[in-house]
C-alpha cells in the first residue's frame, strides 16, 4: 500500500533496465519498497539489478516482457498482479532512435511508434484495469519533454512520446474516483546509455536527478512532474513561442 507520505511497498517496472526507472527504484527501496518486479525483454539482462536489490533485502525478480508483443501483455501483467498488489507501476520502456536513423528506415520509425506509443497503450490499459480492481496504485508514465512540441531533430521520437503523454493524461482522468491514478513524468535530456553520443539539450539532467524529482513528486501527490522542474516554466512559454523562434532554438 502507498502510505500517507507517498511511499510505496511494491513496484513493477516495465522496461526494467531503464536507468531512470532503476534510479527511482533505488530511492524507493530506501523507504518502504520491499517487492520489485523488473519486466524486461531478456530477464537475464536484469540479473545484476535483481542481485543488487536482493542484497539490500528486497524481494526482487525479473520477468520477460516485450513492448513489441502487445498480445502477450495481458498474461504477463496478470501473473504479476496475481502474486499480490502492486502499488507503483513505472512504465519506462522505449526506443529512442535518432532522427537520421528514422529518416533512413521508416520501418524503424514504426517500431518506435509500436513500442513507445502502442506498447504503452496496451500495457497501460491492462495495468489500469488491475489498479482499478485493487482500488489503489499509481501508474507512472515516463514520457518526455519532446512530447510537447515537434522539433526537426526528433519529431518521430517526439510524436511517439506525444501519443503516450496524451494517453496517460486521459487515462489519469478516467481513473479519478477509482483509487488508482496516473502520474506523468516529462524528463528533459537525460544522460544515459540511450543518449550517449547525442548532443545534450540545455538543462540536461541525470537519471539520479530525475529520480529525486520523481520521488519528491510522488510524496507530494503530483500528477505531472517535469525533470528538472524548471522545464515546467520554460515550456509554459516555449510551447507558445512563434515557430520562427522555436526553430532557431531547436537548432
Amino acid at each position: 500500500m502507498r502510505d500517507a507520505l507517498g511511499a510505496v511497498q511494491s513496484v513493477l517496472v516495465l522496461g526494467g533496465n531503464s536507468e531512470i526507472a532503476l534510479a527511482i527504484v533505488d530511492r524507493l527501496v530506501e523507504g518502504r519498497t520491499r517487492r520489485v518486479v523488473l519486466a524486461v525483454r531478456e530477464p537475464d539482462s536484469a540479473q545484476r539489478s535483481v542481485d543488487r536489490l536482493t542484497a539490500v533485502g528486497v524481494d526482487a525478480s525479473a520477468i520477460a516482457f516485450d513492448a513489441l508483443q502487445p498480445e502477450t501483455h495481458a498474461e504477463v501483467l496478470g501473473a504479476v498482479f496475481a502474486e499480490g498488489d502492486i502499488d507503483l507501476v513505472i512504465s519506462a520502456f522505449g526506443i529512442l532512435g535518432s532522427q537520421p536513423e528514422f529518416d533512413a528506415d521508416p520501418m524503424f520509425a514504426l517500431r518506435a511508434i509500436n513500442a513507445n506509443f502502442g506498447g504503452a497503450v496496451t500495457s497501460g490499459l491492462i495495468v489500469a484495469d488491475h489498479l482499478r480492481r485493487q482500488g489503489h496504485g499509481t501508474l507512472l508514465m515516463i514520457t518526455s519533454i519532446a512530447a510537447l512540441r515537434g522539433r526537426a531533430d526528433n519529431y518521430v521520437y517526439g510524436s511517439t512520446k506525444a501519443g503516450q503523454d496524451l494517453f496517460a493524461q486521459g487515462l489519469g482522468d478516467a481513473l479519478v474516483g477509482s483509487g488508482a491514478r496516473v502520474v506523468v513524468v516529462r524528463p528533459g535530456f537525460v544522460h544515459t546509455r540511450m543518449t550517449e553520443g547525442m548532443k545534450p539539450a540545455p538543462f540536461s539532467t541525470t537519471p539520479d536527478k530525475v529520480a529525486e524529482v520523481v520521488v519528491e513528486g510522488l510524496t507530494k501527490g503530483r500528477e505531472l512532474i517535469y525533470a528538472p522542474s524548471i522545464l515546467r516554466y520554460l515550456f509554459a512559454g516555449l510551447i507558445h513561442a512563434p515557430r520562427l523562434i522555436w526553430r532557431r532554438l531547436g537548432g
Binding site: 502507498r2 511511499a7 498488489d85 482500488g135 474516483g177 501527490g221
Partner: protein, 467 residues
Amino acid sequence: MPSTPPEPAAALAVPRSTELFGWGRTAPTGADLRRPTSATELRRALPDPNPRGLLARGLGRSYGDAAQNSGGRVIETIDVDSFTIHESDPAADHVLVTADAGVSIDRLLHSLVPAGLFVPVTPGTRYVTVGGAIAADIHGKNHHRKGSWCDHVESLRLQIADGSIVEIGPDRDPELYWATAGGMGLTGVILDATFRCPRIGSSRLLVDTDRAPDLDTVVELMATGDADYDYSVAWIDLMATGSSMGRSVLTRGRFATAEEVGGGPRSDPFDYRAGVIASAPPFVPGGLLNGLTVRAFNEVWFRKAPKMRRDELQTIPTFFHPLDMVAGWNRIYGPGGFLQWQFVIPFGTEPILRRIIEDLSAAGCTSFLAVLKAFGAGNASPLSFPAPGWTLALDIPTGVPGLAPLLDRLDDLVVEAGGRIYLAKDSRVRPELVPQMYPRLDEWRSVRERVDPQRRITSDLARRLSL
C-alpha cells in the same frame, strides 16, 4: 455524431467505486461503498464473496487507512443508529446503554447528558461511533483513572466472516472479545454493544489550569497531581525551543455537582448544547500552515492561558471537544493532507520523551499544539494502544520536508523505549516495527485465524502493515 460503443464486459465486472480516505485526507483508495439503512440490511453484508474482502466503517475519524478497504467492500454503519438507555437503580453509579455500532458519541451525549449521564470515555472528538470506539479501544482524558473504552463494555455482538453472529464480552469468549477490542475492525463487523455510562453531577466541569514553562515542569505536575483529577491532559507547544522547550498548558478537572454550577437564568445543571460554530472552507490552498503562522498561533495560545487558575466552570464541548466547533477542520491542512503521530512510552523513559520532543522541536516540524498525557494501566487486549506511560500526539502536514525519515527515526526511539504507536492514527509506520511495538500480535493473529481463516475481513491498514 459517433455512435457510443457498447460497455465492455471488463468494465462492468468492476464494481462502482468510491474513493475513501481517513481524517488526514492522505492515500485515498477506491472501494464498493455500501450504506445499509437497517440492522437487517447490515447483517446481510456477510458472508461477502468479494475476493478483496469487507470492512465496516464508522465516521472515518481514524487518521490513516484503518477504515479503507481498497478494491473491496466497505460498509458504512452510521445509518443504523438506535440505542437504549436501560432502567437502573438510582443508587448505582452507572447505567447500562445498548447502542448500534453506528451510533456516535455525539448522538449519545445529546440524550445522556440531560439524563445526568456521560460516556465512559471520550476522545478529543465526539464524532466517533461506538463501533469505532471498540475497534480502536479509544482513550480519553480519564485514562489514568478509568482505562479505555473496552474496559467499560459488558458485551457486544459481532458478525464474523462466515456470517454468524456471536455475543462476546470480557466474560464470554474473552479471547475473541479482547481481540476485537482494539482489533481495528478486523475480527468481524461489530453490530452493537452494551456498555456502562457513569452518572454525572452536572454538565459542567470544574477545571484547573496550570501553565508550565517547560517539559520538566509539566511532567512533574502530571506525575504528582493527576491522581487528584478525573480528567487530565496537557497541550504542548512543540515549536518552542531552548529553555522553553516543552512548554505546556495543563488542564485538569472533574464534573461539577449541581450545587457547584450554582443558580442563574441558565441554571439547568444538565443543560447541554454542542454545536458547530464555524466550518472550514471546502477548499484551502496548501501551505497556509507554515512555520511562521503556526509559531505565531502557538505563542498567542500559550500567552493567553492563565499561569494558574482554579475551579473554572467549563462546558463539555469546551473541555472535551474544542476542535469539533469547527466542522471539517482537517481541511485547513490543504490538499496535501496531514498525519497524526501518537506514541506511548513507559514511565521511567522520560529521557527518551525529552529526546523525541527535542528532535521534533529542532526539526521545526510545523505542528500545532500537541497533546501530552500520562496513561494508567492497560487492559487485556493484545492490540489495544494504551499502556502505562507518556503518550504524545501531534498533527503534522505531510508536506514538511524530511518528515518520513524523521518519523522513522522517532519510531526507533519509541521501540527502544519499549513503546508503541497508535494504529488508529497511523498512516506510515514501518511494518516490521509492529510486532516489536505489539509483542502479542501473534496471539491476536491466532484469534483472527480462528474466526476468519480466509481473511475476508480486511483493511488497507491490515494490508500495509501485514497484520
